[in-house]
Amino acid sequence: MNWEPVIGLEIHIHLKTRTKMFCRCEVAYSEPENTRTCPVCLAYPGSLPVPNAKAVEWTIKLGLALDCRIAERAIFHRKNYFYPDNPKAYQISQYDEPLCLDGRLVVPGESDTEVGIVRAHLEEDAAKNVHLGTAEGRISGASATLVDFNRAGTPLVEIVTQPDLRSADEARRFLQLLRQTVVELGISDAEMEKGSLRFDVNVSVRPEGSDELRTRTELKNLNSFAFAARAIEREVERQIGIYESGGEVEQETLHFDPGKESAPPLRSKEEAQDYRYFPEPDLVPIEPPAELVERARSELPEPPGARIHRLAGELDHATAADLVTSGRDSLYERVPGDRRAVANVLMNQFATTGVDPGAVDADELGKLIEARSRIPRDRFLEALGKSGDPSFAADAYLGDGLVADTSELEPIVDRILEANPGQVESYRGGKEGLLGFFVGQVMRETQGKADPKVVNQLLREKLSA
């Protein structure tokens, strides 16, 4: 029997507003512990939440970018539970009347995948617990737990998808596209390392062709898209293995160790927690004015998915998606020259430089890429590294540093030919493929500084003499 994975995602994104969701503390990531706090985010008696209007507006923007319906009336609810990182003992979240509903995001591919968005809602993040006494900072075996409230109250958007994804790779591509969408809206850094993008994955499998939904497991603490894709693949195989040996998959949560990918996940049974949700009486309903929604709609940038489609016409889908989701597609479109060559350089060598694509003079970069075969590898990388400098000019690297002077190269060529009489004989006997061997020898001798064009020419002349 063929099995089909059924995958759904729950994504949390920090909004990069200047201040927190319900108070005026600055949103901070690397400040000393507990220096961005106030009576509201520490839940002092009598403190009250005041919603961040920017966060509401940005959530609406995101909802529109995900083709959601924006609720005319949304309500904050209290989600009640005790935990040290939850100072009020309730999280202000949204429950049955979220801001954004029923959206979709199309993941471009050979055939497009439409992923339904159940909802996108606004809530506040918890504080950060720091467990002492264990090397990994995990709670089991910890001798004490300290709480850093800097993060408490950071605006957080939760996006829940339909279980519409059918492979680990599709899930990875969806996440990359969603991340890029969010980044381009300018509402979040969406950086996993920083914790401003987190996600959980629900995985189940079913016989291909069936539309049943079998027991799912939840994968938590996945700290990169690639790791997530591998973890999903393993989980899919595990579940298939269970069914094929006549077993049943149990509903459970798999907690991965973000510090150690190879570590097997900790398993826990899902406890049916009763959060005793009820409408937050300290806040009035959010009723986004139609003008605000329409203005946000009119300000939406061209969605990344559309650009992937456009670029896939001249490249392939994977490369187009890579360019777009890495934020290098607009540079790609500006740089003149062979499309595939430009795409390859941007996705490989250029990617390693960390240069801001927006700062690059595209024409100069085009010249550089055009001439790349004539530039030694190290020099080419060095040039790419400087391509964002305002004074960058490709000319400085074309030829410069390359020895094209025949009087300098001729003795070296002669020496190489003398040292390899056998190869010279074979070449002259018709094995012309050996030319590359001689070129390589010259390049090695000159530490790559010889102009390959000149070397080729010299060698041909001498060998045919």
């Binding site: 009576p39 008696p45 009598g46 403190s47 919603p51 040290p84 737990t145 009763d274 005793r276």
Partner: protein, 468 residues
Amino acid sequence: MTDTLRLTAEEAMGLVERGEASGAELHAAYLDAIRDRDGELNAYLRTVDEADGAGVPIAFKDLISSKGVETTAGSKILSGYIPVFDSTVASRCREAGLPLLGKTNMDEFAMGSSTENSAFGPTRNPWDPDRVPGGSSGGSAAAVAAGLAPWALGSDTGGSVKQPASLCGIVGLRPTYGTVSRYGIVAFASSLDQIGPMTKTVRDNALLYRIVAGRDHCDTTTVELPEPVAIPDREDLKGVRVGVPRELNEAEGIEPGVKEAVDRTIELCRELGADVGETSLPRAVEYGLACYYLVAPAEASSNLARYDGARYGLRVDGPNVREMYEKTRDAGFGDEPKRRIMLGAYALSAGYYDAYYGQAQRVRTVIAQEHAAAFEQFDVLVSPTSPTVAFKLGEKAENPLAMYLSDVLTIPSNMAGLPGLSIPCGLSDGLPVGFQLIGPQFSENLLFRTGHALERAIGFDFVPGRLQ
């Protein structure tokens, strides 16, 4: 030496304006009075020695945060908690130059109708120290009645300003929900809590309401007052349509002496020129109390969850965090908060939410609609504030349901978010009877006008006989 027993806030203001007494002198005079008389009453949990402000001093119920002054809400779980910020009402009083006299006793987290639920001992009624002052703002009521504060602020969730005002023979306003900021007020039930002035006269009440009311950007449930607060001076009730809701005036448990004083006052309304007629609030009274005891505990169960020993107040250590929570909350909360937390958590649980909390919210809408219908015909509705005069300490302490019935007449309009004013309207067996005036939203000016005219006509002596 100023005689604080009889001095109204308005008179005290006059003394300050004419330079006959400074704010600091008034403050000192009240502190002297507190030293003299509060040993018996226990109206104050703590006093503030230094007068911070040149105006008429004021007392705050102990759930109003005042920067640097311990605030316990009558609970052991908050003992030692010193707010690092002013509540909005505290800062408005500070801006108005009112120096703080101290923090007054209350039922723990405002849960109670007698102030016997305070973790710091009960407050006694200045009219008869064997009796309760009402609650939960019993400390503020007793302080004003006994001349230990010219005016005070209380808070009213189910009747906690109106009922103690009634039992102590003073004036208490529960304002329209949303007119006074709750920022910095230790929360009991957020959708019902309102801060209200407690004073000797209706004019004092309007003066204090004017200081504290108005929109606050720190409390998004507040609104701007539709019209400025008017200090009442008319002595007639011409053109005022007074409705007498049958169910509120004939409820079971209303003492004959209370009924008599209230009926006399209704007659007085007529004499002052009001059009008096009968009306009905059938479901508001029948279901109000039950509805309240689902909504208020539900919100309380969530509001009180933050007292976990981690950040402030009491902490009882345990081997792990769960046990720290349990031990802290077990030792820190008294019986009434525990009872209501359990009740509230139950009403919110999955599978019960719709039948309890959800249903209560729907009933609340019905109650509001019933009041709105009555206000199509009448400008104010009147009734006794409390079915009884002050009862004896211990009389209802062991019977929560009997205690809950103390608020049966104040709760319905509170559930509808409406303002209510209680004024003393006479004595029954030597103890004050309160007259409740209920108006539509934002009708405080009309309540003040009506209350003031009646107050003049009644001529109630607010100084307890035994202190004269």
